[in-house]
């Protein structure tokens, strides 16, 4: 069922084919999903997960690798400490965040795309160039298998957006690239990477 989302995620359309012909519907959407890290839900805290490794692997396998690879952001939500529940820190106002997002979207529109996720691979070198240090960092991640080829393009688009949110134009440098790698890397918890 979930894997049926792969085509609309990739192409932004739903195609229904029957014997009489096929019809195409527009389906460009933003996919937001939530799940527990394991059946007991405690894998987020070191040493407290009570699931057998096999049970955790089974649970994680319910999401296919190709589907997971299409998530650009995977943010782990920590269980808040008791002190934070009693006296929460004041967060940033939504209006401030909204203004920042509007600003970043305007920067993307200046590149003639609705959002940076739509940047063509061929345009990345021109619109999302990376500096020397960031390039060797990405190469290291590719070499060690921590980053796939599809992931590389996605990380560059994501780093472009993170830089846009910071109001930084031009060449991407190490901090925004490591931030993008980290935000994408949250998926590895679900891919069954063991936490030592």
């Amino acid at each position: 069922m979930l894997d049926a989302l792969r085509q609309p995620l990739e192409e932004g359309i739903v195609r229904v084919s029957r014997s009489r012909g096929s019809i195409t519907y527009p389906a460009r959407f933003l996919l937001v999903a939530a799940m527990n890290p394991c059946p007991c839900g405690d894998a987020g805290v070191p040493g407290s997960c009570r699931c057998a490794p096999a049970a955790r692997a089974r649970y994680a396998r319910r999401l296919s690798g190709p589907l997971l690879d299409r998530f650009d952001l995977a943010v782990r939500v920590e269980r808040p400490a008791a002190s934070e529940l009693v006296a929460p820190r004041p967060g940033e106002a939504s209006a401030t965040v909204a203004a920042r997002v509007r600003d970043a979207r305007r920067r993307a529109e200046a590149r003639h795309v609705p959002v940076n996720a739509a940047l063509a691979v061929g345009d990345l070198d021109r619109l999302a160039p990376v500096d020397g240090a960031a390039r060797s960092l990405l190469e290291r991640h590719l070499r060690t298998g921590r980053l796939s080829a599809r992931g590389l393009h996605r990380v560059r688009r994501l780093a472009r957006t993170l830089a846009d949110l910071d109001g930084a134009d031009g060449t991407l440098s190490v901090p925004h690239v490591t931030e993008a790698l980290f935000l994408r890397g949250g998926r590895s918890l679900l891919l069954g990477e063991e936490v030592r």
């Binding site: 070191p46 920590e78 910071d166 930084a168 901090p175 980290f182 918890l189 063991e194 030592r196």
Partner: protein, 374 residues
């Protein structure tokens, strides 16, 4: 006001008081740049460490001369690294505050040994008695007692040091609030007496109120000022264990006073002893530890971290403040990056870049969204 030094102090005070300023942000703004130059750059929105210009607008509504007058009216001096009055023990420390506020005379710290007496805020009568006695006897032996003016052990240690009478070494306190905000209220009088006899230090701007985050941070300053740290009484996850951990990272010996195995207030300090810290029964035991440090024969002190593991000294280049602060915030057990983010107050971009560099140097190992010390 006259002279470049005075202008630097005024600009440092103005930077310190900007809304949203933290010790780490301040250290980055003043890294390799004098306060006067940094202030002008922040105001102009051209400071390389403030690319988002978050401090530019607030800075434009602040006049350093007015801020400076507030500090002088409050009798608070602004101390800068490398300038007179800044404690020599903090020079070269990876966590040294870029700007330090002082009431009283920091000169008392020079040419005298210093011992930090720290412990729980909810002290038992036993703990309070030991702290007061250690404070009095150490001060009488010309040792500066350093503590945090908190309830419980801290207050008892300071009271004891003041009770040693004339001729004794004056005490020094490091507090988490602004120097015009005595906290807790019941220690107001004690606070004033420590300031007039010795010195009260803070890295917080005038007017800064008590917040839970500031106290673990100031504990590193208490540890860095001391030749020896003594944990008198501590619960299993007490704040004074932060002080012990900060000391161990600096290769400063940690002593602990043994307590009853049935007392929850001694669970943390007894644990330190099991881990191999130096047991002390009285001031003589502490003075023996101080003498060994002063002779350059420091005692190795394995100390549990917050996670209960041993911490070995050694870490990133002390000149790289961002890497140092990330290193300080990562435990020996896997620490979620989100937790490190809250502890360091860095942007996620700066944090992940520093973390990647530490992984490259082999100082951290990275898991799925976790870091731990290698």
């Amino acid at each position: 006001m006259s002279g470049p030094d005075a202008r630097d102090r005024a600009c440092a005070a103005a930077l310190l008081g900007l809304a949203g300023m933290t010790p780490l942000r301040l250290a980055r703004l003043l890294d390799g740049m004098g306060p006067t130059v940094a202030w002008a750059a922040v105001r102009a929105g051209t400071h390389p460490s403030d690319p988002a210009r978050r401090f530019a607008a607030p800075a434009r509504s602040v006049d350093p001369d007015v801020v400076d007058r507030r500090y002088r009216d409050a009798g608070v001096r602004i101390l800068l690294p490398g300038r007179p009055g800044y404690p020599a023990a903090l020079v070269g420390d990876p966590g040294a505050p870029a700007v330090l506020c002082a009431s009283g005379d920091t000169g008392v710290l020079e040419a005298r040994p210093a011992v930090a007496l720290v412990g729980t805020r909810s002290a038992t009568p036993y703990g309070a008695k030991v702290a007061a006695e250690l404070g009095r006897r150490l001060a009488a032996a010309e040792v500066v007692v350093v503590s945090g003016l908190a309830r419980g052990i801290d207050g008892a240690a300071h009271s004891g040091a003041l009770a040693a009478g004339p001729g004794a070494a004056p005490p020094v306190a490091v507090v988490g609030t602004g120097l015009d905000v005595p906290y807790p209220r019941e220690n107001r009088l004690l606070w004033a007496r420590v300031a007039s006899a010795g010195a009260v230090l803070s890295e917080a701007a005038l007017g800064t109120r008590a917040r839970p985050m500031v106290f673990p941070a100031r504990n590193r300053i208490i540890a860095a000022l001391a030749d020896v740290v003594v944990v008198v009484e501590s619960h299993r996850s007490g704040g004074s264990l932060y002080t012990a951990e900060a000391a161990a990272r600096r290769s400063i010996p940690v002593c602990a006073v043994p307590g009853s195995v049935y007392s929850a207030a001694s669970a943390g300090s007894n644990e330190l002893l099991v881990e191999g810290c130096i047991p002390v029964r009285d001031a003589d035991d502490v003075l023996a530890a101080v003498a060994l440090v002063r002779q350059g024969r420091g005692m190795a002190s394995p100390v549990p971290s917050r996670a209960g593991r041993r911490v070995a000294p050694g870490g990133p280049d002390p000149a790289d403040r961002v890497q140092c602060s990330v290193w300080e915030a990562v435990d020996d057990t896997p620490t979620p990056v989100e937790t490190v983010l809250l502890r360091t107050d860095l942007s996620l971009a700066a944090l992940t870049a520093a973390g990647e560099a530490l992984v490259e140097q082999g100082l951290l190992t990275a898991g799925a969204g976790w870091w731990s010390r290698a």
